[in-house]
Amino acid sequence: AQRVTQPEKLLSVFKGAPVELKCNYSYSGSPELFWYVQYSRQRLQLLLRHISRESIKGFTADLNKGETSFHLKKPFAQEEDSAMYYCALRESSGDKLTFGTGTRLAVRP
């Protein structure tokens, strides 16, 4: 069965520092990977997906099939980036998303 691992429960950085939120997955096929974000008092929302290969709010994520990773990166963190981040995987033939346990990012001034 597919599995998504986010090893860090909490990541705390200073404003302006680089950020990397780790995500590793286990799946034998060709997965589709997503990052979702939940800001305080807001609903969970899509941040980006690997097939789009775009940068959203300065964040990027590259699918590395060799390392089975989809780490989320931003070169300079902002205080408004503080939120809960979830990595998710969809099987190539499936309709459901499997989520990781989430990483809380805290950006300090």
Binding site: K9, Y36, R43, L44, A88, R90, D95, K96, L97, G100
Partner: protein, 112 residues
Amino acid sequence: SQTIHQWPATLVQPVGSPLSLECTVEGTSNPNLYWYRQAAGRGLQLLFYSVGIGQISSEVPQNLSASRPQDRQFILSSKKLLLSDSGFYLCAWSAAGHSPLHFGNGTRLTVT
């Protein structure tokens, strides 16, 4: 545009009482519908999903059930709540095919 409504926002129920959480989607047809439970340290656990009316897939054995009586309505139910059913429940929808999920605001359920 598409919108998803989930209610109630919060609910406090005694052990042994029934449960009914409702989710509706507007602005789209034949969506895939999902119920997740979000727990601290455990992430989002998929409970049920549906790709059409009357089609329900259960992901984990539990005290809950789901139904889809109409195309854009998804209901999460229980006949008798347990303390362990307390949690934050999220409904979501996606277009058929490889589309991202769109989440509702969630329901905070406390079983006392």
